[in-house]
């Protein structure tokens, strides 16, 4: 009797969870939170500028006033970078976890991290002090690595496990190349450390424009195709039976994930956890339907990254902690908490 009651209560909850109005509420709520986060990020920083001054200097548009410079050239680009990076990594994580049916998947699994790292190091070693080259190089590196991963997996059937194994192999191999380069050119070690930790300092609108465009386009395409991700979750044979071109679609998604992560890495370096944790966190709220999961993860990822960046630059002002460290500090324990919560809501038993 008791179990029946609990079951029906659970059902009621599950019903509410999947209903349209619930989803809309969640998205609306997160959007508001994001807007608040953006406003906070612009108005708070290590140099305290009162809100009234922010508004007045931005309205006047006088480029010689310090507060204008700070808002325009430091805080706005940083805020935008945090939003874009958070969105890109989270959506990339959602895509990969869904398409590879592996809840531990994240952009690093398809080699984008190592690929971007390698190309960034090569630029640092052979063309030091060239800003834009690093940005473009790391983006290219990410895409090249992802293609390599897929190519190798394709030769062996392009199964989900095959892609993951191929990713591990390619990442290790590239890691070895990176170590070799660092041995031959030790000066590049400094660039590597900065890259590995990841951060938003010194980001400019120029850098963001190119990456941002890619992120937005890739996000839109992923959102349209998110229904196909749901179909893929039924298994390869069922998907094919329903008319889905499985290997084609899987390849498309991999490329989208690589473009998203690669674009973000090009201006922030590596921001580990976001792509891994945010999808899990989002699933707690809205379940597994990718049509909702994608936008919710994007919003949640942006908010989380904004928050971490804000903490990173205000906690010990004027000193800045690299964002990657704050992310890991907050994300790590939270991930452990998720694990303790048990197997509830996993893709597979």
């Amino acid at each position: 009797m008791i179990s029946n009651k609990k079951e029906s209560q659970d059902n009621r909850f599950k019903m509410a969870k999947n209903s349209k109005s619930y989803n809309v509420t969640v998205i609306a709520f997160l959007t508001v939170l994001l807007i608040i986060g953006i406003l906070m990020s612009i108005s708070i920083g290590s140099s305290k500028i009162p809100l009234s001054e922010i508004i007045s200097s931005m309205m006047q548009g006088d480029a010689s006033i310090n507060s204008y410079k700070i808002i325009r050239y430091v805080r706005i680009p940083r805020t935008l970078a945090a939003v874009l990076a958070g969105c890109a990594f989270s959506v990339s994580g959602v895509i990969l976890q869904s398409v590879l049916n592996n809840s531990l998947a994240s952009p690093s699994v398809i080699g984008v991290n190592s690929g971007a790292g390698l190309f960034a190091i090569l630029v640092a070693a052979f063309f030091p002090a060239s800003l834009y080259l690093t940005t473009i190089a790391s983006f290219l590196g990410a895409i090249v690595a992802a293609l390599l991963v897929y190519l190798i997996a394709h030769k062996t059937g392009a199964s989900r496990m095959g892609i993951i194994l191929s990713g591990v192999a390619v990442s290790s191999f590239i890691g070895a190349i990176i170590d070799t380069v660092l041995t031959l050119k030790p000066d590049a070690v400094i660039a590597r450390t900065a890259f590995m930790i990841g951060g938003f300092s010194g980001v400019t609108m120029d850098k963001l424009r190119f990456a941002g465009l890619f992120i937005v386009i890739a996000f839109v395409i992923a959102f349209i195709l998110s229904y196909d991700m749901n179909i893929l979750a039924l298994g390869d044979e069922t998907s094919k039976s329903l008319g889905l071109k499985v290997s084609q679609i899987r390849f498309t998604f991999l490329i989208l994930a690589a473009v998203l992560a690669g674009s973000a890495i090009s201006f922030t370096g590596l921001l580990g956890f976001v792509g891994l944790i945010i999808p899990h966190l989002s699933r707690l709220f809205v379940g597994y339907d990718n049509r909702i999961l994608l936008p919710v993860s994007a919003l949640l990822g942006s908010i989380f990254t904004l928050l971490c960046d804000l903490l990173a630059r205000t906690l010990f002002a004027p000193y800045e902690i690299p964002v990657g460290i704050v992310l890991s500090f907050l994300g790590g324990p939270f991930f452990i908490y998720l694990l303790f919560k048990g197997k509830r809501g996993q893709l597979y038993d």
Binding site: S241, K245, G345
Partner: protein, 254 residues
Amino acid sequence: MIKLRNISAGYNKVEIIKNINVTFEEGSITSIIGKNGCGKTTLLRTASNLLKPFGGEIIIDSKDIRDYHNKGLAKKISFLPQLRTVPNITVYNLVMHGRYPYLGFSRTPQKKDKEIVEQAIERMKLKQHLSKNIQQLSGGQRQKVYIAMVLAQNTDIIFLDEPTTYLDVNHQLEILEIVKKLKEMGKTVIMVLHDLSNALTYSDKICLLNNGEVSIYDTPDAVFASKEIERIFNVKSEQVVVGDEAKKQYVFYI
């Protein structure tokens, strides 16, 4: 109607089935039976275009299967594999997935799609489980949901790979009764069945495979009379009559 001509197929260049020449008539139930490893699932997957054959043709309604577009074929053939990943999804959404071949670019279900889905769910008597997560259902109920999905897909030809394996006996028979209803709707059902008795009881035609080739393809009575089953499986068989309606059942013993 689906016709296989000189089909041979396999994996990694190894031939599993060969010289397959069968026609599955419209509105019939065919069971494919045979020993483990004789190629039943291979035959099913080849016929449903999940596996490219090494040689031969498959004709569906006078059109070569290769001339069909992905979604066009999905509207003609559906395939339900034996082992499936159990995703985290509600009953309603899973059945809605059956409409995928009919959804446009925006992938938004239209009114017609929703009607068909609701009808399929009602037909399978799953209405009270509409919003439940399928991971919460029993094996038998889950199977019904998948069949509802196949119904929603609205194909003329349905391939089922061991739809009753691992189910309790009552659910097994329930599913098989549903298969009979599918036939009444005019659908062509081809299924791989492990249970010989069920196969002989519920089918219009039996396709008995042995070592990758068709040993016999005929009505259950004819197949039983030929004693091929006894030869291949090395067992003895008896036909018995049970129940008030004098239904034929088959018993196998050593």
